[in-house]
Point group: C2
Chain length 132, copies 2
Amino acid sequence: MCIFCKIISKEIPSYAIYEDEYTYAFLDNCQDAIGHTLVVPKQHCVNLLDCPIELLGKVTETVHKIAKHYVDDCGYQGVNILNASGQCAQQSVFHLHIHLVPRKAGDNINMWPDNARQEMNLSTVCQQLQLK
Amino acid sequence: MCIFCKIISKEIPSYAIYEDEYTYAFLDNCQDAIGHTLVVPKQHCVNLLDCPIELLGKVTETVHKIAKHYVDDCGYQGVNILNASGQCAQQSVFHLHIHLVPRKAGDNINMWPDNARQEMNLSTVCQQLQLK
């Protein structure tokens, strides 16, 4: 059983933020930002790519609900959402999880990756990637 | 009219990846990663926090569809998803947009923010943020 399945089943303890029939949300133990939360489906799937769209909808509903709770009720003014799907995309735990980081002005957190501009031809890229 | 509304209405040209009744997807012009795509709802909303959940569901469906297309059809093996909601969360254009970055092994991109570990008491944080 994967570590997040063990957390969902309470075999491993976690700091629960929210739970419903389809989803579970708990504090990330990386402690890089106060309130850094992980939202996961209870049904095991690896990442966004193999998650059934109906279940992904439930995960999205929970992300939305918690984001609004953090801003409406907990003194935050914004949120960042992050997901890594695939080892090459820097995914480290292979159970779908959406990172939700509550933000406030002057929190001295940087949740934006910093990559240098690359040479590319957007027209060519567009032709290669367009979904017809 | 906001810049993304102008892009959606074709008043400003963009490199279209996908379009349906509710959503539009186009290449980000920041050019930090090949295929960096923005998925937006056609109906204007500022960010995740004011987006009606039904519309956010449509945006999620489009993100899922394009992510699978990139991996199934375009030679990628994973994706990153990012969203900034709120100026304090480093949002820069105030029309909801989900960043979708296709990834492959050895692409030399870092899509993960790097923040130092902070001192915090997860139990206290949990009590403050729990959604009952």
